[in-house]
Symmetry: C2
């Protein structure tokens, strides 16, 4: 049977991926932006993105991971699909569909001094080209809502963390204080952490606290509980 061909009579849809990579800086959510090198909007800060390379990427997820790695040097352990933005008007190059992914990363894993890379606080974004402003707003909403009942914010921490630090990270993302007792219970329930044997923080100001790390099985998949962290 001959391979059926794609309908050739329709104008091509430009198929791209964009990545909303967020981090915590000074306990406020920031998004990683990249100064665009090419038209349209050359010189403007925008989400890292690019064309799907059909001969190279197995899936759009692969394309997003490749674009992020090649354009920012960042390998994210976790990339989740946010939504697809599409239409005739969003890109001056033509009818386009961008499959958008989001990810969280610890600030200490960001490459330092990489040309064109900047961090913008999500609460005070610069004007962004295309519909990137709207995309970032949806990503922030998704992260906040998903953080209510999952291990997602753990990706904002480094490899090792204390429970007080993790609670501060959850509080920064959710924008509200969390009761310590119910937080500890939820973290137990989520079960994504394991204590690092023999490792305690040392510091003059506080009692030493146990250090934890993310269990292997949750490095690329979320742990989820049915009821919210703060309920």
């Amino acid at each position: 049977m001959p391979k059926p061909s794609a309908e050739p009579s329709f104008p091509t849809v430009i198929c791209t991926v964009d990545v909303v990579l967020m981090t915590l800086k000074d306990d406020a959510l920031h998004v990683v932006l990249l100064t665009r090198k090419n038209a349209p909007f050359a010189g403007a800060p925008a989400l890292p993105g690019g064309y799907i390379h059909a001969q190279e990427d197995r899936t759009a997820w692969d394309a997003a991971a490749r674009v992020l790695r090649d354009k920012t040097g960042i390998v994210s352990p976790y990339l989740e699909q946010l939504a697809t933005y599409s239409g005739a008007d969003r890109d001056p190059r033509g009818w386009s569909a961008s499959i958008v992914y989001y990810a969280l990363i610890s600030e200490e894993l960001l490459p330092e001094g990489r040309e064109g890379l900047l961090l913008a606080p999500v609460a005070a974004l610069p004007a962004l080209p295309f519909d990137h402003g709207e995309i970032v707003a949806l990503a922030v909403e998704r992260v906040r809502s998903k953080s209510q009942y999952s291990s997602l914010p753990v990706y904002l921490c480094g490899e090792r963390m204390t429970l007080p630090r993790l609670q501060a990270v959850y509080e920064a993302v959710l924008g509200e204080p969390i009761n310590k007792v119910s937080f500890r219970r939820k973290i137990d329930e989520l079960g994504m952490l394991e204590p690092i044997e023999g490792e305690l923080t040392s510091g003059a100001a506080h009692r030493p606290a146990q250090m934890y790390r993310l269990r292997e099985s949750y490095r690329r998949a979320l742990s989820v509980v049915p009821r919210g962290i703060n309920s």
Copy 2:
């Protein structure tokens, strides 16, 4: 400035939309399938779908609404993006990205006797081509989770409904009984219904019940509450 062209060196990505349209039949969720007329998989039941027509559709949402209308005769009041399925292997025609939408509809609004249209229970789906089986599973999960805290199931009812009927619809979708008192409270909180003045059901078996309809403002947008219907 010349209009920058899309990078021409990459093989085209086939850009399509698919729609998971669900209804309640005998109080069980069913999905609307359509017998495929063309290769690949001609003759197999599959989700209604088709190419994006860049010259005609303003957005992928428009493409989904058009495909649904043209292929099934159904105009859905509510179509929400589910996810995009993409990759080199999912369609024998080539690297493809399908932007998937889902919708709920009352069984009484389905066209009768339309050729090729069939209803399959989501709990006992036939084998579906492409990744349509996986897509339906995600859509069912999304509907169940969204029904916990929104007005979504109301689209499964006809234009007029009683509260006991609406509760039965929520219970059918969620697959669990709901406490009547907390259900009534959540429905009040959701605020998407208005009583139809002077209209009561009549029937021998039950006390007459007030008839309600969906408020105008919620015909195309969900009402959402922060805590679940059944909590």
